[in-house]
C-alpha cells in the first residue's frame, strides 16, 4: 500500500514512480511529483521505486505560455 494524493492505493512492490502514475491514469509528462514531501525530478520517474507506505503526490501542471 502507498498513498497517492492522500488516498491509499494498492502497491506492487518495486513499481517505479512512472509506473504508479501511469497505472493511476496520470500523465507523467504533466505531473509535478513529490515523494514524502521531496520534489522528484522527471528524470528519476523511471528510477525511483517508492517503498510501501510512501506518500506520493502528483500535481497537475498547466502548460504555460
Amino acid at each position: 500500500m502507498i498513498y497517492l494524493n492522500g488516498k491509499p492505493r494498492e502497491h506492487r512492490e518495486g513499481a517505479t514512480v512512472r509506473e504508479i502514475l501511469e497505472s493511476a491514469g496520470l500523465d507523467p509528462a504533466l505531473a509535478v511529483v513529490t515523494l514524502d514531501g521531496t520534489f522528484v525530478p522527471p528524470s528519476d520517474y523511471g528510477r525511483i521505486r517508492p517503498a510501501p507506505g510512501a506518500r506520493l503526490a502528483a500535481r497537475k501542471m498547466m502548460e504555460g505560455g
Partner: protein, 629 residues
C-alpha cells in the same frame, strides 16, 4: 561533439571583438555561462549575453532557442529570457554565445556574418531608429524589415534579425522581437524574448536597436536519428518523433478540447479561474465569474479563435522544424494565451478584433506584452474608479468596465482603443505617464502624490529597490512567489492548494527543471520528454550527466543567492492570493486543514498572514536551494 563553448565578446563602444573558449564540464550552456559572465563583469560592465544550448542544430526538436541573460533593467536582478527558433540560424555563426558590452556611440545595428571557416565579421552600422520605427509597418516590424532589406543580401543563407521598438527607448520593459523570414518576406510568426526588459537593455545600455546574424559555418552537431530513436525507444518504447508528437499535442491540437495552442487550451479549461478587469474578478463570487467566462470568453472570444485560427489551421513554427506548430495565427496576428489575456480580459477586452488591435500596437512598440497588459489594466481601473482622470494619462475616454452589461464587440473595441491611446501616452510620456524607470516607480510616485488607492491596485512582483514584473496569468499562489527570477516559469503554477513552505520547495524543484531545459536551449513546450531525457542525452553525448546536473543545481543556488524578492507592495496581490485560497475551499471543496488555517489567519490579520505566507514560501525555496554542510 563540442568540447568547448565559444563566446564572441563584442564591445559596442569600440567595435573590438574576440572569442573566448570555455570548457564543457565546468560550463554547459547559455544560462550557467551567462550567469558567470554577468557576475565576472559586474561593477565593470553591464553585459547582455545571447546564445544557444549545446544541442542547437541537433535533430532534437525544439533545441534551437536563443537564450538571453544579464541583469534585467525592469526586474533589477539576473534574468533569463528565451526566444523560440532563433538559435537555428545563430548556430551557423559557429559560436555558442555573444556577450555584448559597451555602448555604441550612436544607435546602431550589429551585423554578425560568417562564411564557412572564416572569422565572424562584426560590423556596427549607425541607423536612425526613430525614423525607421515611424515607417510602415511600424515599430519592431519596421525595424526587422529595414534591417533585413538592407543587409540580408550580404548573407549566403537567410539571416535572422533581432529588433527592438520604441518601448525600449521609453521604458525599462522593452522586449526583443524576431520573426523568421521566408523567400524574403516575414512569416508573422514573431518570437519574443519578452520578459525581463532585454530590449530596453540592448537599446539603452548598448545603443543597439537590432542585430542581424547568419552564416554558413558547419559544426559538429548531433544528427544521428537512429541513435536518438534507440534512446527514446529504451525509455518510451517510441521513436523520438513519435514521442515528441505525443508530448506536444496541446500546442498543436488537442482533440479533447477541440482546440490547440496556449490560448485555446487555457481558455477551454479556465472556467471560474478567469482573471478579468485588472483582477477584480478575484473579488467576485463564482457564479459571476463563470457567467462572464461563458458569455464573453467561451461563447465569443474563444469561439472566434477556434473558428478563425484552429478550424482554418492557421499555424506556423518559430522557425525550426517542429511538429508542435505552436504559433497560432489569424493572418498577421499571432495568438498566445498570456498577451491575449493581459491585453484581453484583464483590460476588459473579449473580442479578437479588439485584442488584435491592442496586442499589435503593443507588439509593434516592442513591449513585454504581459507587463504592458498588466500596466494598462491597472491604469484603466484607476480611470474607472476616478483615481486618475483621462487628461492625467493623455487620453480622452474612460474604460467601459460594466461586466453585467458588457457588449463583447463594442465595449471591447472601446477598451482596446483606450489601451492604444495609453500605449502612445507611455511612449510619449504624456501627463503623469513616465515609465522610463518602470511601473513600480510610477506606482510609488502616484501613490504618494495622488493617494494610496492607486498603488494598491497594481498587481506586480517586487524585486530589489525598483524591480517589478507583472505575474504570469495563472490564478494561484505560485504566480506570486518570492523567487529570484519571476515572470517566467521558474515556479510551480498548478491550481491546487499547496501549503506555502511546500510550495517554496516545489518552486525550487521546478526552477531546477526549467534551468535544465533553458541551459540546453530546449523549448519548454517539449518538456514532456525533454526534462526527463535531458540528463540521459547529456550522458550519451558528453558522458558526464552528473557534472551537468551539479552545475545546474549550483546555478540555481547562485541565482537564488541573488534573491532580493520584496514582500508584496500592493493590496491587490493579497486579494489575488486570498481569492485563490477561498475559491479552493468554497468552490472546489478542498478540505485541507492547512488551507482552512490560512484562510482564518487572513481573516484575523490580512497583512500579517500575507507576510507569513510569503515568508513560508521563501523558506521552502531557500532550504531547497541552499547547501547545508
Amino acid at each position: 561533439m563540442e568540447k568547448v563553448i565559444k563566446v564572441l565578446h563584442v564591445d559596442a563602444g569600440t567595435s573590438f571583438y574576440r572569442v573566448e573558449r570555455f570548457p564543457v564540464g565546468p560550463f554547459w550552456g547559455p544560462v550557467d555561462l551567462g550567469l558567470h559572465l554577468t557576475g565576472r563583469e559586474a561593477g565593470r560592465h553591464g553585459v547582455l549575453n545571447f546564445g544557444t544550448g549545446l544541442l542547437a542544430g541537433s535533430i532534437f526538436p525544439g533545441s534551437n532557442r536563443l537564450i538571453f541573460t544579464g541583469h534585467s533593467p525592469c526586474w533589477g536582478g539576473f534574468y533569463v529570457s528565451a526566444m523560440g527558433g532563433a538559435g537555428l540560424i545563430f548556430d551557423d555563426l559557429g559560436v555558442n554565445m555573444v556577450s555584448l558590452r559597451g555602448r555604441a556611440p550612436s544607435p546602431s545595428v550589429l551585423v554578425l556574418n560568417r562564411e564557412h571557416g572564416e572569422e565572424v565579421q562584426v560590423e556596427l552600422a549607425p541607423v536612425d531608429p526613430g525614423r525607421i520605427w515611424a515607417s510602415a509597418p511600424g515599430g519592431v516590424y519596421a525595424m526587422m524589415d529595414h534591417v533585413f532589406g538592407r543587409w540580408a543580401r550580404e548573407f549566403k543563407q537567410t539571416p535572422r534579425v533581432l529588433a527592438v521598438g520604441p518601448a525600449a527607448a521609453a521604458t525599462d520593459f522593452g522586449a526583443i522581437a524576431s520573426a523568421p523570414y521566408q523567400d524574403g518576406r516575414t512569416t508573422h510568426a514573431d518570437c519574443w524574448a519578452g520578459r525581463g526588459g532585454f530590449g530596453s537593455k540592448l537599446f539603452r545600455e548598448h545603443n543597439i536597436c537590432a542585430v542581424i546574424y547568419g552564416g554558413t559555418c558547419l559544426d559538429d552537431d548531433f544528427r544521428d536519428r537512429a541513435v536518438a530513436d534507440e534512446w527514446f525507444r529504451q525509455r518510451y518504447e517510441k521513436k523520438l518523433a513519435a514521442k515528441d508528437f505525443e508530448a506536444t499535442t496541446k500546442y498543436r491540437f488537442d482533440p479533447k478540447f477541440g482546440t490547440g495552442g496556449t490560448f485555446g487550451v487555457n481558455y477551454s479549461t479556465l472556467g471560474g479561474r478567469l482573471l478579468a478587469f485588472n483582477y477584480r474578478s478575484a473579488l467576485w463570487d463564482e457564479p459571476a465569474r463563470t457567467a462572464l467566462n461563458k458569455r464573453l470568453v467561451t461563447d465569443h472570444y474563444l469561439k472566434q479563435f477556434n473558428e478563425e485560427t484552429i478550424a482554418k489551421k492557421q499555424q506556423r513554427t518559430c522557425g525550426e522544424p517542429c511538429s508542435a506548430v505552436c504559433k497560432k495565427l489569424n493572418g498577421e496576428f499571432k495568438k498566445d494565451y498570456e498577451p491575449y489575456q493581459t491585453m484581453g480580459p484583464l483590460c476588459g477586452i473579449f473580442d479578437q478584433r479588439a485584442a488584435e488591435r491592442l496586442n499589435r500596437h503593443a507588439d509593434a512598440a516592442g513591449f513585454d506584452a504581459i507587463s504592458a497588459g498588466g500596466v494598462l489594466s491597472w491604469l484603466m481601473e484607476c480611470l474607472h474608479e476616478g483615481l486618475l482622470k483621462p487628461g492625467d494619462l493623455g487620453v480622452k475616454s474612460l474604460p467601459r468596465w460594466d461586466a453585467e452589461k458588457f457588449d463583447a464587440v463594442a465595449d471591447s473595441a472601446h477598451n482596446a482603443e483606450l489601451g492604444v491611446g495609453l500605449i502612445d501616452s507611455i511612449l510619449e510620456s504624456r501627463g503623469v505617464l513616465d515609465l522610463s524607470l518602470g511601473a513600480r516607480k510610477l506606482a510609488r510616485r502616484l501613490s504618494r502624490s495622488r493617494g494610496h488607492e492607486i498603488g494598491r491596485r497594481f498587481v506586480f512582483l517586487a524585486n530589489a529597490r525598483n524591480g517589478w514584473m507583472v505575474p504570469n496569468q495563472y490564478w494561484n499562489a505560485g504566480a506570486l512567489s518570492p523567487m529570484a527570477v519571476m515572470g517566467k516559469y521558474y515556479m510551480y503554477y498548478g491550481f491546487d492548494f499547496v501549503p506555502p513552505r511546500e510550495l517554496g520547495r516545489l518552486n525550487a524543484g521546478r526552477m531546477i527543471q526549467e534551468l535544465i531545459i533553458d541551459d540546453l536551449g530546449i523549448c519548454r513546450f517539449h518538456r514532456g520528454w525533454a526534462e526527463e531525457m535531458a540528463p540521459d542525452i547529456v550522458q550519451h553525448i558528453w558522458g558526464d550527466s552528473a557534472r551537468f546536473q551539479e552545475v545546474i543545481r549550483a546555478t540555481a543556488g547562485r541565482v537564488n543567492s541573488r534573491n532580493v524578492a520584496v514582500f508584496w507592495e500592493s493590496d491587490r496581490n493579497i486579494d489575488f492570493l486570498l481569492g485563490f485560497l477561498k475559491r479552493k475551499r468554497d468552490v472546489e471543496g478542498d478540505k485541507n486543514p492547512e488551507l482552512e488555517r490560512w484562510i482564518k489567519a487572513f481573516e484575523a490579520d490580512r497583512r500579517g498572514a500575507a507576510l507569513d505566507f510569503w515568508y513560508e514560501i521563501r523558506k521552502g525555496v531557500s532550504e531547497t536551494l541552499t547547501t547545508l554542510y
